[in-house]
């Protein structure tokens, strides 16, 4: 007891003495811990609040007010997919260079982006579909698409060009102007916070959902959300805080205490918000949710974030741009393609896409089976998500006791098993709402509990994969891992159509009330889950070839250390060799 008292006393004195000035060898005063707690917490909560708003089918604004056809979201993705390859390459170049480029290249980029913007606006304002034969195959085909016409397809394309053009130019401009002043993590908040607040408020108040014609509603909503997404409110302060100190031990301490604790703010908000929503007459379907509650919570989070963000310092020294390692596009691409384990992850991701287009099962369960709202909803959601926390304490034991291969295979099988249990409960207990719902929630809790350790394992595996990449190529090439998405993108786009097309057949379109029809709800939930189960079982196969064990990792680390010695002569006083290269930390 006396020992504990003594420790508390020591800790108190430590905090008091170093409230404003950090201890020797440390960089972060304790006052900044408080700032991190509030700023990261509100940044994270604001970011989470925005999950209620988006151009996707399960957004309540889309669900209850815009009522857009479900398949339309997939069609828009297909329209935008090919051009995305070009934008990705351009963005990589800018991000990797922190927005600083040779003047000549910068002018070229600005030129291309401005041209895109102008073409985008032109496509939105004018109607190029009039140039085509109105009874021709092209126009007839485009008009036959769900929620889209030939004319609106050009507007959607125009929106895509406008967004990419404007955001690309903006990206160069703000990076160049603000990174020197605010640092690479925080700059985005300073240029986006206010416009984001304005767009969040406007989305609720602009009555575009009253447009009677669904085709017009689709392209207008697409444009509105494109403008909204021009101003990201990412969780960038957490990134900043995670890299806050050159002292590695202090970094871990900051990650463990103020950052972890700050997430409790989000827990409070995610319990409070449904309580407020439950007080609205039409609850989730009430437009006041988007007019008052979401903007209110979001603006509060932004205000607190911005007050405290300025007090968090970035202390990782930025190397001069000219010293940054530049890797040619093709070298990077071929480098990552030699990494067998990245292929394993890619194939797993590809198989996981079998479930793309699925409706959020838990939401359907809560809203359409249980008909939950208010505090009960909050508590149940909190309970399910909390279920994943206790197993986290056992992570070290399981990670030591079992191989990554075993853990990941168990994970996929547990997901298959959990989903199978849900299917069976819906099949045999569907009429008994309370019992069926209870079984499903128990299964969700089980699935949440079995997710925690594999998630930790997954993070470790990613770190190891990058260590291996470092061994293979001398660089971690994290950005270049995106090229795998180039190959899987076309397949996942197509595979992602399977479930929406099936749901369309079962009656799911723009009217979510169909989920009140018991027979239809059963099909709409169960058939995609069965497809998902198949995906989970198949996802065990790639992991069978996972042979990257502790011995190989240790060997890789030995090689990396040897390289470090060869370069610096000694490891003393340097960063751990596994730390990412500066150029890759950026993005």
């Amino acid at each position: 007891m006396a020992n504990i008292k003594e420790k508390i006393g020591t800790f108190y004195h430590e905090v008091r003495d170093h409230w404003k000035e950090p201890a020797e060898g440390k960089y972060v005063p304790y006052r900044e811990y408080k700032d991190i707690f509030l700023a990261v917490g509100c940044n994270y909560s604001g970011n989470k609040t925005l999950e209620y708003l988006g151009f996707w089918a399960s957004c309540y604004l889309m669900m209850y007010h815009y009522k857009l056809p479900y398949l339309t979201f997939s069609v828009i993705n297909i329209i935008n997919m090919p051009l995305n390859y070009i934008w990705t390459m351009m963005t990589w170049y800018i991000a990797d260079n922190l927005g600083f480029m040779p003047k000549k290249n910068e002018r070229k980029f600005y030129g291309v982006y401005m041209l895109l913007t102008v073409v985008g606006i032109a496509l939105i304002v004018f109607d190029p579909s009039q140039l085509f034969n109105q009874s021709g195959r092209f126009v007839t085909y485009m008009n036959s698409l769900e929620g889209i016409s030939c004319s609106s397809a050009f507007k959607i394309l125009g929106t895509h060009l406008l967004w990419n053009g404007w955001s690309g130019a903006r990206n160069i401009f703000w990076r160049k102007k603000l990174i020197p002043k605010y640092g690479r993590y925080k700059y985005s908040l300073y240029c986006n916070a206010i416009p984001k607040c304005i767009t969040v408020i406007l989305i609720g108040w602009l009555p575009f959902y009253n447009i009677p014609d669904v085709v017009t509603r689709v392209w207008v909503a697409n444009l509105m959300f494109a403008i909204y997404s021009l101003f990201p409110f990412d969780n960038s302060l957490e990134m900043c805080a995670q890299n806050i100190s050159p002292n590695v031990r202090e970094r871990i301490w900051v990650r463990t205490i103020p950052i972890k604790l700050s997430h409790f703010l989000n827990s409070i908000i995610s319990i409070l918000m449904p309580v407020f929503i439950g007080m609205l007459r039409y609850e989730w379907a009430d437009i006041n949710l988007f007019k008052y509650i979401i903007p209110g919570f979001f603006t509060f989070c932004v205000a607190v974030t911005m007050i405290f963000a300025g007090r968090i310092k970035e202390r990782i020294p930025q190397p001069p741009i000219e010293r940054k390692v530049t890797i040619s596009f093709w070298d990077g691409m071929f480098g990552v393609m030699r990494n067998k384990y990245k292929w394993v992850n890619t194939i797993v991701g590809l198989l996981d896409s079998l479930g793309n287009g699925m409706l959020p099962f838990a939401t359907i369960l809560y809203l359409y089976t249980f008909r939950l709202s208010g505090l009960i909803y909050s508590l149940l959601v909190a309970l399910v998500s909390f279920a994943g926390t206790p197993p986290d304490f056992f992570s070290p034991y399981f990670l030591k006791r079992f191989s990554y291969k075993q853990i990941m295979i168990f994970y996929q099988l547990s997901r298959a098993l959990g989903n199978a249990a849900i299917v069976l409960s819906l099949l045999f207990l569907g009429d008994r709402v309370n019992l069926c719902g209870t079984v499903c929630v128990l299964v969700l809790i089980f699935m949440e509990m079995t997710k925690t350790i594999p998630t930790t394992a997954g993070h470790d595996m990613d770190i190891r994969i990058n260590d291996y990449q470092m061994y293979l190529s001398g660089e971690r090439l994290e950005n270049f891992s995106g090229v795998f998405g180039w190959f899987t993108g076309p397949i996942t786009s197509f595979v992602g159509l399977i479930i929406p097309l099936m749901l369309l057949r079962y009656g799911f379109n723009s009217n979510w009330d169909v989920l009140f029809v018991d027979a239809s709800r059963f099909k709409i939930i169960v058939i995609p889950i069965i497809i998902d189960i198949v995906g989970y079982v198949l996802m065990t196969i790639p992991y069978l070839s996972w042979d990257y064990d502790d011995r190989k990792q240790n060997m890789v680390m030995e090689v990396l250390k040897a390289r470090e010695r060869a370069t610096h002569g000694s490891l003393d006083g340097t960063e751990a060799p596994a730390e990412p290269a500066e150029s890759e930390v950026v993005s």
Binding site: L71, S74, I78, M81, P82, Y85, T140, N143, S144, L145, E146, S149, V214, M279, W330, D331, F334, K340, R371, G374, L375, I376, P396, L399, K400, D431, V433, Y471, L472, S473, W486, G489, P490, I491, S493, F494, L497, L501, R505, G507, N509, N511, D513, V514, F516, V517, S520, D550, R551, Q553, N554, M555, V556, E558, V559, A562, R563, R565, A566, A578
Partner: protein
């Protein structure tokens, strides 16, 4: 850094790991792993680049080709069945407001006999559908969410279905199948009203409500079909005395429905019919304008959420169906009625929900 990772990073015993000379640090190949390639040009780079580009172009091309085919749908989709042809899906190209369902592919030799569930799902252009003489199977969900549908007429020669002024019934008039969602627009026009009126609009009166928002079911009707009156803009419904069943979602989201009467030989009573046996799940869900509900003693089954969200709290007062009046005594009701979960509505009570009170053994209001 996790404990596991710390363990991995721990010094490795010399017996398991060989010493790596500094001179070989950049080229050292670990046994069982690929050799590092650092600072060297990629072999056959030209060929590899060509392959990557070709694969990407083919993958994107195929994806777009198949996606374009998958999302395209013909205006009419039919399948052949044992009894004829079934309309499985109608995709409105945007300009079709009236439709006659008599044969498939404009071929009179292919009589249309069935209409599949959700065949017109979420169409917002159609205003009138005429069902042909050969149609004998119509799913209760066939006309689901056809937002502007005003009338469903049936060919008089049809032996299985008929219509009563644009409302779909079975031929014997024992079952009402579909009251089109926008039927009030048809009644409005018929009664000479130029625009839609709401209770707070100027000119809204009893005459308007009677002509446009009131519906009398024929005396022969025994069943109100599933989804029959969903989203209907009705304030008053007169049910026949012989009604036995109200199926699932029958009056779902008929949010203006205020009063339900039963009319028969004995006159008009403000209640569900005395002979009613079944009330389906979600039958009256979200009908918040209802202010009185009386469950007759004849009822044997009530589906889950049958009266869900028919009450709400406003200014501290519970409105809508604030009390459920039940003819039977409590013990008798619980013994004889198979009541589904949450059949009673509930309202906000502090931070939770509270189910409304039930008045067992109640007298019917006049």
């Amino acid at each position: 850094m996790s404990r596991k990772q710390k363990n991995s990073d721990a010094p490795v015993t010399p017996e398991t790991l060989p010493e790596i000379p500094e001179s070989e640090a950049w080229t050292y190949q670990i046994e069982g792993m690929k050799a590092p390639i650092i600072g060297k040009p990629v072999e056959n780079a030209g060929v590899k680049k060509a392959v990557v580009i070709a694969v990407l172009i083919v993958a994107i091309g195929l994806s777009i080709f198949f996606s374009v085919r998958a999302v395209h749908s013909e205006t009419y989709n039919y399948t052949q069945t044992e009894i004829g042809w079934e309309l499985t899906k109608f995709s409105n190209p945007g300009d079709i407001t009236q439709l006659t369902l008599d044969c498939a592919e404009n071929d009179s030799a292919k009589p249309l006999t069935s209409i599949r569930e959700y065949a017109f799902n979420c169409d917002d252009k159609l205003t009138s559908i005429t069902v042909g003489k050969d149609v004998r199977e119509i799913d209760s969900k066939s006309f689901y969410s056809v937002w502007n549908l005003q009338t469903i007429f049936v060919d008089p020669e049809n032996a299985w279905f008929c219509d009563v002024d644009g409302v779909l019934y079975d031929k014997a008039l024992t079952r009402v199948i579909c009251y089109p969602i926008d039927h009030d627009a048809y009644l409005r026009e018929k009664a000479g009203y130029k625009e839609e009126l709401w209770p707070d609009s100027e000119g809204y009166d009893d005459a308007y409500a009677t002509a446009v928002q009131t519906y009398h079911l024929p005396a022969t009707v025994e069943t109100v079909g599933a989804l029959a009156f969903n989203y209907a803009n009705l304030t008053t419904v007169y049910l026949p005395a012989g009604l036995k069943t109200i199926e699932t979602l029958a009056f779902f989201k008929s949010t203006n429905l205020k009063t339900i009467y039963t009319e028969g030989a004995g006159g008009v009573i403000r209640s569900l019919p005395d002979g009613l046996e079944t009330i389906g799940s979600d039958a009256f869900s979200y009908d918040q304008a209802l202010d009185y509900m009386y469950i007759p003693a004849s009822v044997k089954s009530i589906g889950h959420h049958a009266f869900w969200d028919t009450c709400f709290k406003e200014d501290g007062e519970v409105k809508g169906v604030a009390v459920m009046h039940v003819a039977a005594e409590e013990a008798q009701f619980k013994a004889s009625v198979d009541a589904g979960d949450h059949w009673l509505p509930s309202y906000d009570y502090r931070l939770f929900k509270k189910t409304i009170d039930v008045d067992y053994g109640a007298e019917r209001a006049q």
